[in-house]
């Protein structure tokens, strides 16, 4: 019975995503999609993947990560770097993109493990600040990094292109603050939707598995979970690194949607991490479908209402505060339950009267 309910709920989530895809295909076939909307389709998929994966850390694991954009950045650069390097080896753009996705996910996941090992064994709010720090470190490092490739192999420098000491035929792949230029524009809306579905499949299956239940028990009561023999660090690390790897996938998608990739505060900075957090909080902590809907609405809405653009960040801030107080304050919860009870009583008396 319970299992069926979960299955139905998950199927609805998948169905919504597929329905969106069919709708978009129909609209674009009949020419109802503006160029603005077309440009928005792949970023929408990116945001949905980011929101769903962050929800795994924040909603399911109950730890705050403020470096989700940092993991995205790692994935983006790892993926784009691979695509550029393999230009001569694998001629098919699609195949290179596929491998780039895997590599981006693996590298971001690896960074997730590296960050998670020292931090996740600690109690308290350290993860938030360390992930924030990680995002800044990565952005700093990439902005001073120069990597080139010639017949002697890779050259690495943190100064400038000339100090790479390369042959004339060599190619500079990462040019410091300019980043990587000339990545093929391989990302399409269909690929984006497929990646969204894969992300959902991974996250939803994890949540409804033994491991997922262990992760949620850690969130609800760490001490009780530990006392029944759940390995806290292992499961925390598992959720966190999967979340990071999925952010890496979103990063690779991002890198292959634009022809040039640079780590600026705008795309991989703190604000980006906060924006994803707003999606997760507005959609409901732990509610995967909510994250999808919130990501779509909050991305599409400000683009349509250009006039609100100046107030967008302000609205995000207010959404965070109001949602948190309304959902988590002990008084608000009490008030809501009193209200609900009254509502129910009203209903039953109405029924009795009838």
């Amino acid at each position: 019975m319970k299992k069926n309910k979960v299955l139905v709920q998950n199927s609805i989530t998948y169905a919504i995503v597929i329905a969106c895809w069919i709708l978009m295909q129909l609209l674009s076939a009949t020419g109802h999609v503006s160029s603005l909307m077309k440009g928005l389709m792949v970023p929408l998929c990116i945001y949905v993947i980011l929101a769903v994966s962050l929800n795994l850390t924040v909603g399911i694991l109950g730890e705050l990560s403020l470096g989700h954009a940092g993991f995205m950045c790692v994935g983006a650069f790892a993926g784009a770097f691979f695509t550029k390097c393999m230009e001569g080896v694998i001629p098919s753009v699609g195949l290179r993109f596929f491998f780039a996705l895997l590599i981006g996910a693996a590298v971001a996941g690896l960074f997730g493990i590296l960050i998670g090992i020292p931090v996740l064994r600690l109690k308290g709010d350290y993860l938030a600040i360390v992930t924030l720090a990680f995002g800044e470190i990565i952005k700093n490092l990439i902005n001073v990094m120069y990597v080139g490739l010639d017949s002697n192999g890779f050259h690495f420098s943190i100064k400038d292109t000339t100090s790479l000491g390369m042959e004339d035929a060599g190619v500079v792949i990462i040019k410091g603050a300019q980043g990587i230029t000339g990545t093929p524009k391989a990302a399409t809306f269909t690929i984006g939707i497929i990646l969204v579905l894969i992300t959902l499949f991974i996250v939803l299956n994890l949540i409804n598995s033994r491991a997922g239940r262990a992760i949620m028990s850690i969130r609800d009561n760490r001490i009780a979970a530990e006392s029944i023999g759940i390995n806290i660090t292992k499961y925390k690390l598992m959720a966190f690194s999967i979340s990071a790897a999925l952010a890496g996938v979103a990063g690779v998608l991002y890198a292959h949607n634009l022809s040039s990739l640079a780590a600026t505060p705008k795309n991989f900075g703190y604000n980006m991490s906060i924006m994803i957090l707003v999606f997760v909080v507005l959609g409901g902590l732990g509610n995967i479908r909510g994250s999808i809907i919130a990501a779509v609405i909050l991305t599409a809405l400000p683009e349509m209402l250009r006039g609100l653009n100046n107030y967008r960040m302000l609205i995000y801030a207010i959404v965070l505060i109001v949602m948190m107080i309304f959902n988590s304050s002990p008084k608000a919860i009490e008030m809501r339950s009193v209200f609900m009870e009254r509502f129910k009583k009203h209903k039953t008396t109405a029924k009795e009267a009838a």
Binding site: L64, E136, N140, L141, L277, M313, L314, I325
Partner: protein, 293 residues
Amino acid sequence: MSFLSYLINGISLGSIYAIIALGYTMVYGIARMLNFAHGDIIMVGGFAIFTIVSTLNLPPLLGILVAVVVCTLLGVTIERVAYKPLRGASSLAVLITAIGVSYLLQNVALLIFGSNARQFTSVITVPNLKLAGGKLSISGVTIVTILSCILIMVGLLLFINKTKTGQAMLAVSEDTGAATLMGIDVNRTIATTFAIGSALAAIAGALLCSTYPSLTPYTGSMPGIKAFVAAVFGGIGSIPGALIGGVLLGVIENLSKAYISSQLSDAIVFSVLIIVLLVRPTGILGKKITEKV
């Protein structure tokens, strides 16, 4: 000689971090929460001084006074409106709210003052000190910063150890439940802590903007985060720890800027945090808290 001047500038920067870290550490010790908006209160203080001194052409001392009052009121209001309703809620909820407040302050400032950097006129008019026959020059701001940090630290320690309110703060940080039973008004104590922390943030804002005279709505966020690193480094909850952590971090940042790479100095500072958490999660002076079930 250049090493010495880097070192002194590092100590000065570290003193600012220490003053900010005090606010973090006190609030964390008493309310068990990470006040993310603390860094942005510094920015508000900076803009308050900017408005008084540069726009209205009033004396700098009045500017600092107004900034302290504005920040204190702001800190108490934030606590009352955003954090107090969440007392007893999960720490995740409080943390997200604090980030929301931080974001709110930044964006309100952005709407009022715009994103262009404002030139901040230094509020400190102490002449530079020349040592060793003019080879080593220490700026007046540096001297004032270091002195005010020492003064604040001593004052705060005296306040906590000698006054009734200070003792109440200690008691609440030890055990909130027992403190309530002893007749301590916990809500008022927490509000006092926020008031003191925010007043210190205003002073830190004045010193920070006098040292680095450019003011944007994001001025406070990076020093705020670094000051948190300093608080963790020194041992969160410990007041002398904030001083030690702040000064060490300032010195590390300035020396790495001078000798390694100016672009990588932030990365190095944040790596310190990760190393500290790996080696000694409680920080230099932090106490290990045993957990009771």
